[in-house]
């Protein structure tokens, strides 16, 4: 813990803190416009917003949809986050995949068509330890063109190591931009430090990531305020990190171990309004919708401004191939506790429940039927690979 404490003191600075704390009273001109778009709208006004959003999306992204899949490496975690199934005090079955198992899961996803994989892990310095993530990335980079990570925050030099290993995308959600609520939700672990997390995208950029995803969990704070703060963060990042492309997401809380109930509502119409407001204020931002949303809603959202979708996802480590089931255990006070008795069909706990359970192929067909080209590959690792390492040159 001493090392973590030292790390927290090092680099939590971001000029965004002051901007955030002045919201909603003091807003930039763009955020004034964003706020106005989030005011109460009539159905006709919302329809007009949706049409505008669709037109802008077509201009910037065309009739396409990028597809990706999350690959959960570990559900070990030192944090307690009230809404998350992986919270350390939840008595769930846990596992950290071996490198071999990670490769097996990745190959399964590649066989389904995915060329863009997001590696996800809980935050645990013992299980997801130094070198493990690098090794996972290196083990799959030769057959996965696009690799992103969604893991516990790091310092910029550590991010640089991830980029060097072959990762190109970083995802880190602030969860909530409401400081008081953040403190209430995150009761234990390094994640309690709000500012350490807030400065994370900028550290990632410094470390060399060129695709950075931010977001907030909807269902915690008032949705309009949350969306405004997220938008202000994006505006700040566009100014500070001009060579990165950004994505945003508005994940809604889903049922998870621990049985947390959302504190606030974020109905479908509010999700649509938020999505359209982001599109109108940030025509070039990528917008991600995951399988936590139901199929019917995802189909309806697809043409409105979404640019990236996951499909056929599992949020438990080993979920695609059953890898790791032989190593399931409990973790109590940071220590592994082996199971005396385990059901044959026991599985590691997922982070949250999936609502759209369709296969990747089914989602791709749905997109094609809507006139959207499913794009599996949109990046080539050769762009970043030194010439001596790339094949054929």
């Amino acid at each position: 813990m001493h090392e973590i404490g030292a790390r927290i003191r090092r680099n939590v600075h971001t000029q965004f803190s002051a901007i955030l704390d002045a919201l909603p009273q003091r807003k930039s001109p763009l955020m004034e416009r964003f706020s106005a778009l989030l005011e109460t709208k009539s159905p006709a006004q919302l329809e007009a917003m949706a049409r505008e959003s669709r037109a802008i999306t077509r201009r910037h992204f065309g009739r396409t949809m990028r597809l990706f899949a999350p690959l959960y490496l570990s559900n070990e975690c030192v944090n307690n986050c009230k809404y998350c199934g992986f919270s350390r005090d939840n008595p769930i079955l846990r596992v950290t995949l071996t490198i071999e198992q990670v490769v097996r899961e990745a190959r399964h996803l590649v066989a389904q068509g995915f060329r863009n994989i997001l590696l996800v892990a809980g935050e645990h310095p013992r299980f997801v330890s130094d070198g493990y993530l690098d090794e996972c990335i290196r083990a799959i980079r030769d057959f996965v063109p696009t690799i992103g990570i969604e893991v516990g925050p790091m310092e910029a030099p550590e991010y640089a190591q991830m980029v060097q290993a072959g990762a190109e995308g970083l995802v880190v959600y602030q969860e909530t931009y409401d400081r008081a609520l953040y403190a209430e939700m995150h009761t234990a672990g390094p994640k309690r430090d709000f500012d350490w997390r807030l400065a994370c995208p900028e550290r990632g950029y410094e470390g060399g990531f060129r695709r950075i995803g931010i977001g907030a969990l909807f269902g915690l704070s008032d949705w309009r305020l949350e969306a405004l703060r997220l938008a202000a963060h994006l505006e700040h990042l566009y100014r500070q990190c001009w060579k990165a492309s950004f994505t945003v997401a508005f994940p809604r809380l889903r049922p998870a171990a621990g049985g947390f109930t959302p504190l606030t509502g974020f109905p479908d119409w509010a999700l649509v309004q938020t999505l359209c407001a982001f599109r109108q204020c940030f025509p070039e931002v990528g917008i991600v919708v995951s399988t936590r949303e139901p199929a019917k809603l995802r189909d309806a959202l697809a043409p409105l401004g979404v640019t990236s979708m996951s499909a056929g996802s599992h949020t438990e480590p080993g979920g695609y191939t059953g890898a790791g089931t032989d190593d399931l255990h409990l973790t109590v006070r940071g220590r592994r506790v082996d199971l005396n008795d385990k059901a044959d069909d026991a599985r590691a706990e997922g982070q949250f429940g999936i609502a759209d359970t369709r296969s990747p192929a089914a989602v791709a067909s749905m997109l094609s039927a809507q006139g959207l080209d499913p794009v599996w590959k949109d990046w080539d690792p050769a762009i970043l690979t030194p010439l001596s390492h790339s094949s054929g040159t």
Binding site: G113, A382, I383
Partner: protein
Amino acid sequence: MANAPLTIAGRVFQSRLMLGTGKFASGELMRQAIIASGTEIVTVALRRADLTGQGDPFANILDFIPDNVLLLPNTSGANTAEEAVRLARLAVAAGMPNWVKLEIHPDPRYLLPDPIETLKAAEILVKEGFNVLPYINADPVLARRLQDIGTATVMPLGSPIGSHQGITTRGQIEIILAQATVPVVVDAGIGAPSHAAEAFEMGADAVLVNTAIAIASDPARMASAFKAACEAGRAAYEIGLAEAATEASATSPLTTFLYSEN
């Protein structure tokens, strides 16, 4: 009478319309649009293609490009000269032509090209024997520097990619045209056939269109609309447009008396 053909790096093209391949709703719609446009040069983002030579069915954009067009690999996705050079070399290694549309736009928000990295990459690639078609802001000095290096064309933008704003850089492009020793291709921002016609009327040698065709509800028909506009604009340029004037001109000349015999 047909329009004059276009010559780039010694190769002759009848069509002066180049097509981009992003943003189409499907590979098949893209293929139909390419055919309808009559284009002979099609650019593809290497990051979307399979560079391993293994025929990846999930990255098969090249399969939809007809054999009779010149495939112009582009370096979109590269943020630096080094990355762009690497991509261009890799394309050749993967069996693509040694032609490259040099695109380095590190700012993903406006996709404006980085002049410094573009110049650096062009120097290296020209030396290595590539036919380099650099995408640049409409900067007449940069255009001169690039043609001095030996690029095959210069490709100034009309307005930011995908913006459909038309030729908002008109004044700068006019200077580039006046100074050009290589073909000038107006790239980006061409949102309507009239914009393409305008570029040709100004004297552009070619235009590159992508978004306006790709996102049209009928891409093939929009492609043929652009084809017609390009041909019309070029013909008008070759014939010579009458100059626009703010006042009506007198139908009875005022100075013929100078030349009369009596």
